[in-house]
């Protein structure tokens, strides 16, 4: 059972956090919310059916906790002083769930890249370093940088191919 519990945690934790973030902006607060859901499951482990699909239970619990969190926080925001702390009040939304799944897949993809490849790709894609700067920083040739980045792209396309249509859907509908 403990093994199954860990498996569920590892499968859903990051997706649930990204999902929570559609409602609660602070990622650390979201992590805490999701952790608390898992603590409850652990405390009720003797009644919890680990064989049944856990997904809808998890998302509903996280959603409810987000709503409680917003409710608790909102009471204390003084209008004069509140600066840009705004809350998203929409109801549970399938698209939020899918956007969260996609973000967690993006990280799964990035993290499954070979180490060097991942490092170079992150430098280029997130830190916006030019090929030459990366080559300089890592003391390798520009050619190697180029090869690693295109390798990363190939692998990521493979990893994410099932999700790309989803992305299009989300963008077209202005949900992301």
């Amino acid at each position: 059972m403990e093994q199954r519990y860990e498996e569920i945690f590892r499968t859903y934790f990051s997706t649930l956090c990204y999902f929570a973030q559609k409602y609660v902006p602070d990622l650390d607060a979201c992590k805490e919310i999701v952790h608390n859901v898992f603590v409850i499951i652990w405390e009720k482990r003797n009644e919890f059916d680990f064989e049944k699909p856990a997904k809808s239970y998890l998302f509903t619990s996280v959603y409810n906790r987000c709503m409680n969190y917003i409710r608790d926080q909102k009471k204390f925001i003084d209008n004069e002083d509140a600066q840009e702390i705004s809350w998203n009040k929409e109801a549970i939304n399938e698209n939020h769930l899918e956007a969260a799944e996609l973000e967690s897949q993006i990280w799964e993809g990035i993290n499954s890249l070979p180490e060097k490849c991942r490092e170079i790709f992150i430098l280029n894609r997130f830190e916006e370093k030019k090929y030459a700067q990366i080559a300089d920083q890592l003391k390798i040739s520009v050619k190697t940088v180029e090869a690693q980045i295109s390798k990363a792209l190939k692998l990521l396309r493979e990893h994410l191919k099932d999700y790309i249509h989803l992305l299009l859907f989300l963008i077209v509908n202005n949900l992301w």
């Binding site: 650390d28 992590k31 204390f76 993006i106 997130f126 090929y131 990521l156 992305l167």
Partner: protein
């Protein structure tokens, strides 16, 4: 490469997405792309995979092994707690008996149970608590904690200002009792300003999260995280939070002061709080002076000299009070 080519060099295409192709190469890619329906499809898919990365950021990466460890600790802590509660009930029973015996004697219970640290108006002091948490007291402040601190509770009483670095312990929340409000944390770092005469309590968070609530109304707590400030308004009896705009909230401890186009009155107030000296602006006009500068580990004399020379003001000291005068900066 002609426009009918089926394949394209992946390195070239990636370079194109990166914006590192020459004009000639750019033309090549675009020609290839418009060469056939299949090429177009291939291009779109790769471009989408590339663009997908814009939807996240390394700051948003979640390390699942770390989170799993954290959860395991949390679970085991809550299991231990049940254990401890039982165990400590006995400890408390014994302690109660001891207290009873002692209070029959002449020593007051207060003296036996509590430790207290005061700071004078001119000093700050660092204290280590039995659980390894650290407290730095600003001037004119007082902290009291029970002798059995860290056994059955982690409670302290504070008046004045202090910076807390609380050791994480999920089984025993750390509670600060102020006169009319309470703060509860598990393990974080934050500054608390709760001077007696002031009409508010301010809690500024450096790390982790902190909850603040009016005494006995814990279910109406507000949670502040890094970069935020929780405030208890003593007049209106409400808790609220804002983003922290004061870069110098910890200057009294670090002696690092940053001023960014700040009015002289703000500067004087900050310097007063950090160096525990009274500063008086003799002239309203002086407030038209603003200053942008940083001081690190400087003594007050140096700071005054810098202000004197950059703002063209006169500084005099009498009976320990610092007087600023001048024509202003208009």
């Amino acid at each position: 490469m002609t426009s009918g080519d089926r394949y394209i060099d992946m390195d070239l295409l990636t370079r194109y997405f990166s914006g590192e192709t020459s004009q000639e190469e750019t033309r090549k890619v675009e020609e290839w792309m418009s060469g056939s329906e299949d090429n177009r499809k291939e291009f779109d898919q790769l471009k989408q995979a590339w663009d997908l990365m814009d939807k996240t950021h390394p700051r948003r990466e979640i390390n699942i092994d770390k989170e799993w460890k954290y959860l395991r600790n949390k679970i085991h802590a809550s299991a231990d707690q049940h254990h401890k509660v039982f165990h400590f009930r006995r400890v408390i029973q014994i302690a109660a008996a001891v207290i009873l015996l002692v209070s029959i004697g002449l020593v007051s219970r207060q003296m036996i149970l509590n430790k207290s640290v005061n700071t004078k108006m001119t000093e700050t002091r660092e204290i280590s608590l039995p659980d390894g948490s650290k407290v730095t007291l600003n001037a004119g402040s007082k902290i009291i904690y029970a002798k059995n601190y860290a056994l059955s509770n982690r409670q302290v009483k504070l008046t004045g200002e202090a910076y807390f670095e609380v050791k994480r312990d999920t089984t025993l929340p750390f509670i600060i009792i102020l006169n009319d409000a309470e703060i509860e944390v598990l393990g974080t770092s934050f500054n608390v300003k709760a001077y007696k005469g002031s009409n508010k309590i301010e809690v500024t968070v450096t790390e982790g999260q902190v909850s603040l609530y009016e005494k006995d109304i814990r279910n109406k707590r507000i949670i502040a995280t890094v970069g935020e400030k929780a405030i208890y308004d003593r007049n209106r009896k409400i808790v609220k939070k804002t983003l922290n705009a004061d870069q110098n909230y910890m200057a009294w401890k670090t002696h690092k002061l940053i001023f960014n186009n700040d009015k002289l009155s703000t500067v004087a107030e900050t310097v007063e709080n950090v160096y525990h000296r009274k500063i008086v602006l003799k002239n309203e006009k002086l407030n038209s002076c603003t200053i942008t500068t940083r001081f690190e580990g400087k003594d007050i004399e140096t700071i005054l000299k810098v202000l004197e020379s950059t703002l063209d003001i006169t500084i005099e000291q009498e009976n320990g009070i610092i007087y600023l005068s001048g024509e202003g900066c208009e």
